[in-house]
Structure formats: C-alpha cells, structure tokens
C-alpha cells in the first residue's frame, strides 16, 4: 500500500482564461480504492481526463511508476476507464465488446478466446456471453464495461460517476459488486463521484475537492472524525449526519 503507482506533481489546468485546477499534487497508492469527491465543477472530472490522457495539464506533470506520462497517448498508459453510461458498443455482444481491443491488436484467435472467457468468468457474466448491451441490466452492463478494460490488464481503472444515473436501490447492489471485483483483483481504482455516501461506502481513501484545490485527502474515518477544513465539515460530515438523522426521524 505504501508505494504510489501514480504521482501528480504541481498540476494546473486552464481552459482559455478559466482556471479549473490550481497547482495540485497527490499520490495514488497501488491497489487502493480512491474516490474523488466534490461538488459539480470542482475539477474532479478534469483530473480523471488528465489521468486517462484525453486532456493535458497546463503545467505540472503526471508520473506512473516513476515514468513521466503527462503527454503519453491514452493507449500507452495502461489505464482503463468506465464511463457513466458504460459506453458499451451497442452492436456487439458481451463477448465481442470484451474481445474487440484484443482483436484490434491482432492477437491470435485462440489466445483471445482464452483470455475473454477467463475475464467473463471473473466478472460473472457466463450466462450473458452472447447478449447485446440492450438486453442486459444496468449492473450487468457495468460488469461488461469493467471486463472490457480488464482484458488489457490495466494497472489502474478509472470510473467517471458510473452510478449517477441509476436508482438508489440498484446503486447499493452495484457498489457491492464493484467492491467484490476490486477485492478479487486487487487492482487500483479511482472513482469520481459527487455522492458522499457512495464515496464512503467504497473507498480506502477519499480526495475531497473544491474550488480548484484538494481540500483534504484521507481515509473515510479521518475525514469524518477529523475534518481539517470547514468545507469538509459542511460537505461531508454535516451531510452524512443529516442523512442519518432523517432516517432516524422517519423510523422513530
């Protein structure tokens, strides 16, 4: 845990004249589940886009295993991404969604088959191997999206608010599944969300962002018990307390 896999050093990002991130630095540890939590527009998605390589920082650099990847192409970073709507290829079945990246690399057919079947088993989609995305439930689609990135053995998987469009009930189940997959594979996951509850339910550590800066980056326990900033107190602690209180009130 102690060793960082990704280091962001003095990152700034400006779009034209608008500053989105102001000189931030952070480490992501190997194997951890890190959430980026903050209100809309705080720059969390921009961080994600810089990690994946579809956006470049205006200043500063990003290191992965000590190597500078600030300007590396997305495909050379070995980082996978799962989008909010999963973005599965609608015309391909589960199998081909997962195998596509391998066949694009001109890997042998048998090798692909072995690999894909293995991944499908890992995420528990054996029953749905020939289904199209439209025929799958939200949870199954999420697993396909994860499997699609897993097939390339990424070092890190990024999640861009993957559950924001779902029902509260389903969210809880999906969180569970996601956590199980992470435990099984011990892969580093970075998860962007604006949902305090979600961040607390999933994360080893949480990076709280607001107004272009990192406010606090800590374990859920420490964030709740030792908020270092009034914003954390307000945005995280008070919010969770309120939630607990409202539930208590309603069952009294």
């Amino acid at each position: 845990m102690a060793e960082p896999i990704i280091q962001a050093v003095n990152i700034s990002k400006k779009f034209k004249s608008k500053t989105v991130l102001e000189d931030i630095s952070f480490d992501i540890m190997r194997g951890e589940f890190l959430s980026l939590l903050g209100p809309s527009g705080c720059g969390k998605t921009t961080i994600l886009r810089m990690l994946i390589g579809i956006e470049q920082p205006t200043a500063g650099k990003i290191l992965k295993d000590g190597v500078d990847i600030t300007n590396a192409a997305p495909k050379d970073r070995n980082i996978g991404i799962v989008f909010q709507n999963y973005s599965l290829f609608p015309n391909m079945d589960v199998y081909h969604n997962i195998s596509y990246a391998l066949s694009a690399k001109k890997m042998g057919k048998e090798e692909i088959d072995k690999k894909v079947k293995e991944i499908i088993e890992t995420v528990g989609l054996e029953e749905h191997i020939y289904k199209k995305p439209k025929q799958l439930s939200g949870g199954q689609q999420q697993r396909v999206a994860i499997a699609r990135t897993l097939v390339l053995n990424p070092d890190v998987i990024l999640f861009d608010e993957p559950m924001s469009a779902l029902d509260a009930e389903i969210k809880v189940i999906l969180r569970q599944q996601l956590k199980e997959i992470q435990k099984k594979l011990k892969i580093t996951m970075v998860y962007v969300t604006h949902d305090q509850e979600e961040a607390f339910a999933l994360s080893d550590r949480i990076m709280v962002l607001n107004d272009m800066r990192i406010i606090q980056m800590d374990t859920p326990y420490n964030l709740y018990h030792n908020p270092t900033d009034p914003f954390v107190k307000r945005f995280v602690v008070d919010h969770l307390d309120l939630k607990v209180k409202s539930i208590e009130d309603s069952i009294k």
Partner: protein, 856 residues
Amino acid sequence: MNTQINRAGRIIKHEYLRLISIGCILLFAILPLLTLAFHVTGEDWSYILQDATFWAAVKNSLIYTTAAAVTTTVLALVAAYLLNTSSLKRKNLFVILLTLGMLVPTISVGLGLRVLFGTNGFIDLLFGAEIEVRGFSGLIMGSVMTSFPATFLILYDALNYEDKGPYDAASIMGIGRLSTFFRMTVPYLKIALISAFFACFTLIFSDYGMPMEIAGKVSTLPMYLYDQFMSSFQYGRGSIAGFVLLVPSIVSFVFDLIFKDQSESEKQKKLIEAEKSFNIGTAVVITLLCLVLFLPQLAFISLSLTRAFPNDLSFTFEHIANIFSNTHGVGLTAYIWNSLSLSLLTALFGTAFAYLLGYLSVRKSGRMAKVVNLLALSTIAIPGLVLGIGFIFLFKGTNGYFYGTVLILVVVNIFHFLGSPYLLAKNCLSKINSDYEIIGETLGISKGQIIRNVLIPNSVSTLVEMFSYFFLNSMITISAVAFLCSYDNQPLSILITTYEKNSNYEMQSVISLIILFLNVVARTGFTAIANTLRNAEAKEVDGGIGLERHEFDFLTYLEKQGRGQYSLRKMADDLTISLNNVQKYLKELNDRNYINIFADGSIEISEKGLKALEPYRVRKAIILAAGFGSRLAPVTLDTPKSLVKVNGERIIDTLLDALVAKGITNITIVRGYKKEQFDALLEKYSTIRFIDNPEYNITNNISSAVCAADLIDRCYICEADLYITNPDVINKYEYQSNYLGAKVSETDDWCFKKINGAVADYQMGGTDCYQAFGISYWNSEDAEKLKADLRKVYASRGGKENLWEIVPLRIMKKKYHLEVRKCHKSDIIEIDNFIELIAADSSYAHYPGYEGFRVE
C-alpha cells in the same frame, strides 16, 4: 518524447481530413457561385435593370410562387394535421401515397397537366370543355403538386415530435378539436410552418422543369436565366438572374439556421384514440388529395398505355416497345443505363461523403468542425440551376477529363443534394455515444476501426435513407445536369426536355412512366431494406430468432460431438432422420452460417450456431431433496436418502456429476431432513446453493417446489434419489418443456402415456406406457405458469398433501404441453426400497439388521 509526436500526429490527421472536405465544398459548391460573379459586367447590370422582360419574369415568378406556396403550405398543414391526429392504422401507406410525386421529374407533372387540360387534352376530348391551363393557373396548380410532398414531410415530421400529452388533457376537458388546432397546433408549428413555407417557396421559385411545359406565354425567372445561357449566350445577364434566384434560398437558409430547433424534447404519445368519424373523414380527405395529386401521373400513364387516347382506349405496350427499339425510337436502354449509373454513383459517393462530413462535424469538437457544419448546410441554399451554370464556368477548361464526363454529373448532383443527407448523418452520429472514441483510445483501438466496427454498424438504416435520397433525386433532376451532360451521358430526365421541344407527348409520357416505375421499384427496395434492418434489430433485443426443431436437434448433436468428419449415414442414424434430410439440413444450416464445413470434410457448429442455441441452454437445476425417504429405512435413519452411498458414491453425486458435465453449475438443493449433512456436498461441488424447507416433515414435496418457485426458469427440476448410470439423460440444451420417461410394457410405478407427443394420463401403474423419471425441464413460458399454479394449489385446502408434479400433470394438465423426453430404462436406477438398494449395491446385504438378506 516519442509519444508526444504520436499524439500530435493524430490530431493533424483529423484536422487534415476536415481541411480536405472544407476544400471540396468550397471548390464544388461555393467557388462556382463566385465564378458567376466574375462574369457580370457593369454593362450587364445596366441592361438587366432596364430589361422589361427581366422584370416581368421576376414579377411573374413572385406572383405564382407566392400563390402556390401559400396554397401548398395550407394544404400540407391540413393533411399533416389530419393524418397525425387520426388513429388510422396504415398511416405510412398514406404518407407514401401523398409523397409519390417526389418520384417523377417536375417536368412530368407539367406534362401531365397539359395532357389533362390542354387543347385535345383528356378533359377536352371527354367532356368537350377546353380549359386553358397554360399560364398562371397551370403554373400555380403544377407548383402546388410538385412542392406538396416536401412541404408535407416537413410539417408531418414536426408534428410527430410534438408532445401529445396536452391534447389528451384538452380532450378530457372537453375542448374541441378546432380550438386545439388553432390554439395549440398552429402556435407549436409556427417555426416549422414558416420554415416549410420558405422551403416550398424556394422549391417553386427555382424550378424550371414544370414551367417549361405549362408556363405558356408567361415568362418565369428560371426560364429567363435558361434563355440567357442557352439561347442568347449572355452569361453575365444569366448570372445576375441566378443571383436573384438565390435570394429566397438564402433567406430560407438563414431563417432555419437561426430559428430551427433541432433538439428533441421528451414527448408523450397520444393515449386517447381519435373518434371513428374523424378517422373516416381523414381517410376520405387524404384519399381525395392523393387522387388529385396523382392526376398528372395518371394522365401520362394513360397516354403511354392506351393505343390512341381517347379514341382507342385499348391497352397496349406499343409505345413503350417503340421507344426501346432502335429503329423507331431512340434506343432507350442507353438512357436508362445513363440514369441508373449516374444515380447509383451519386448515391454511393454522396452517401460516403455526407457521412464523412457528419462525422467530421460532430464526432470531435473544434473550430474547424463548425466550419464544416456551416458549409455543408449552406449547400442547401444553392439552386441546382445556379450550381449547374457555375460548374460550366469553373470547369469548362477540364473538358474531356472532368467536364463533359459522367464524373462532373455525379459531382454536381452530390453537392446539389448534399444538405439533407448530411443532416441525416449528423443527427444520427450525434446521437451515438460520444465516448466511443475515447474508449477506443484507451483500449488502443484506432478511430478508423471505431468508425468501421461501431459507428457504421449503428447507422445502417440512416445510411440506407441517405442513399435512397441521393438515388431518387438523381433519377428525376434536370436542373443542374441539364447544362452539363453531353450527348453520350444524357439521363432519362433530360430526354424529356428534348421531346418537350417538339411537343411529342407520347414520348414524354413513356419516359416519365419509366422514371416513375424505376423509382417506385427503387423506393420499395430501399424501404424493404430499411424495414428488414429495423426488424433484425428488434429481433436481437427479443433474444434471437427461434430455431426449428430439426435445426435444434442437428445443432445440439454437433455441439455435443464437436468438430469431426461425420459420414452422412452416421448422422442419419444418430438423429433418426433420412439421408436426404441430412443433406438438406446440412445445406440449410451452412447457408445460415450455423455450421462450419471445412475443406477436409469435417463439420463443426459455428459461433453463430452456438448463439442460436443460446436461448435454449439449460440455465439451472433445482433438486428436491428434503424428504425422509421412509421406504429406505433403516439406512435413512442416519442419512438423507440422496446422500446414501451406492457402490461407494452418494446417489445425488450421479445427478450432480451429470449436471456439471453439461455446464449446469447453477444448482439449488431444497433440503429439509438432516439438512446439515448436505453441507458436505460443498467440498466437491462449490457452486451449489441450498434452500431449507422447514415443512418437509408435515407436507408432501410440493412444499419444496414452492420454496424454490422463484428460481424456476429454464431449469431442470429433479428428484434427488435417482441413481443415474447414463449422464446423457441431462442435456445442455432443451428445445421445450418436457418430462423424462422410459418406455415400458408394464409398471406399477408412476407412469404416463404419450398422446400427440405430450405427457398424458399421469397415474400410478399402467401398461404399454412411459415410466416417469423425476427429471423435467421448464422453459420460461411454462415456468411462469408453474410458479403460479404450484403456489395456488399449495395454498388451497389439502393442497400441501400433493406431489408437486401432480400440479402440471394432473390438476392443471390442460395448461401444459409437456413433451415426452425418452430415455432407456437402464439409464436411471430407481431405488425405492431396501431390496432395490441391495440389488444396486450388494454390500447393503450386510447392513446391521439385514445380514443375510438376499435378493433373488
């Protein structure tokens, strides 16, 4: 550092393509217009300004265009409203009939009117009433007919996107239809109405095909322009007329750019159906309108297919035959070929180019993307006539290479018709998830691969629509092509203008009819393709097309056997079908790509075949193992019956092994008696799950089935005490719900008869029947019924005393059609009492208390 260069390289490639396409549009659409300006001299201006004929033409054009555009817009609004509001079933058919006019050149409509009304026209000859149609009346009538289809489609489309919720609310509140029409529909359509009016106006204003036939002495602006170019060779003056022609299109274009909202909002479908009287009224009005719109076509069809209208009305193909023959006619085949090849080439390259433009303008943002979009849209504003003359000026110098070849016709058509297909492509591509390219980048899949494997497969029906638009329009256009075609590559539509000059109505009619015929065939074909694609998509969501029984049997056989060289004889024997059928089915399955046949003669099931079998795959097994097994006492005093060992193996293991061997690992065991002993199974079978039946000792096994009822779906329901000697009694796939049985001549066990292939007369003991083995399969449909029926019976008085299978096989037997699945009696050994146990495993002869027990 290296990666940085790569990234830069990729960006440039994208922008490069954009620059090329911008260049193309500038060269082939904008530059031709600019060239026109260079040919205008001051002298031309002063001439035009003083030229009375010019001003008369402008005035005439404005008069009949305004009159016709207003009429068309109102008519189209009424038709669109009626059709959209009604609950008629075959709305699409009416839409097709109303837009039939789009399939013929406008000049043919003029021709039809002349044949109908003119001196010696149908009406004159039939009723003796000569109506002078040439002039304003004809121009207005013809313009309404030619511009109606496009105007109607704009409004009908807009209405389809309207939220129908408020109409239902109004109708519940008792607000009348007329009131909602003026208070809701018209205000909603405001922008669309103005846009439709402008489009209609532009269409009429710049058309010169129809006026050619019907204008008579009235001079119109397009005709003035045509004369300046083709007769007086006054290119400067013609160009000025061209610019005037451009004005309404530019107004229309700018209006759409500013006001037309292309975003789609959530809309609710209409829930309250229209009254029957309204539907009938709509059907009558629309049918009448179709007939009126079809009159000109009817006229030229009649003229081409009767011997000598109206004196000799006998049907004949003579005119058509004549025009095809080289001696009397013109060798029409060559012209048909010209038209078809021109239209196909235009459609092919046009679709590709418009799709590329759509891609470049919406799939990646950037300043260049906006330029591409604006330029592509601006082509809508250029009348074909103006584009055509621009091409003459610009490309005259390329004579023989580009000018004068079929290539220039293809290019001018592509840019003339580019706007609408471009919009189709743009809308379609902007609806496809924008993250695919990013996903591709992270997965190392190139943009080209994403286009080929994701974007194009997801826009097939749009591509067909675009192709269709290019094709149909190229078949009927004369405006741009008229100036550019040579004697060798003249298409059919231009040939009509040739015969117009010498007033040969028969020839014109026959050619119009042929164009109509070809376009009807083409449009039917395109519609069929689009429908097939749509249905295929719908079917995919439903879970694939079902297999026929024989296909299922054949495929499961191959799936089980694996790749190998099979003799036809062996397959026929194994599948118990005739040799002929083996050959027939092999061919069928191969044609459908369900099997692969290799060069060495070996055969295997293909991936597609596996996919087709997938809906039939057995998903899980439910094993009912809660009971005590009293008849096997004393062994079962310590152990549940299914866990009793026979020949060193637990009875249930024979079943579990058979299931696992067929890939069925989702296994649920309902347990009750000595349930904790079942945990030992987990060592060997890690995937099984347990459900506990607390009522096992006070009810019959129906309670166990009810405990697991939620799970019943595409599954086996098995008894736990079957000692299976042939694991093939379990299949990987099942075609339909069934019950396993072995043919016997006599039994005192539970058995059933086979009537029409289905299980019947389930009872204890019988002769010449099937002995029932407790393994059954339930497909989704039957599973739903079974769940409900089990619960119903269970809840009824005394219902708990039943065996579960009594429910589908006796109590509710009419609701189920369970196939008899045959096995051999020796495949399963039923161990129902201690004697049978010793028969299966002689070691039990030494069981405490049973020493020396012998079986004869």
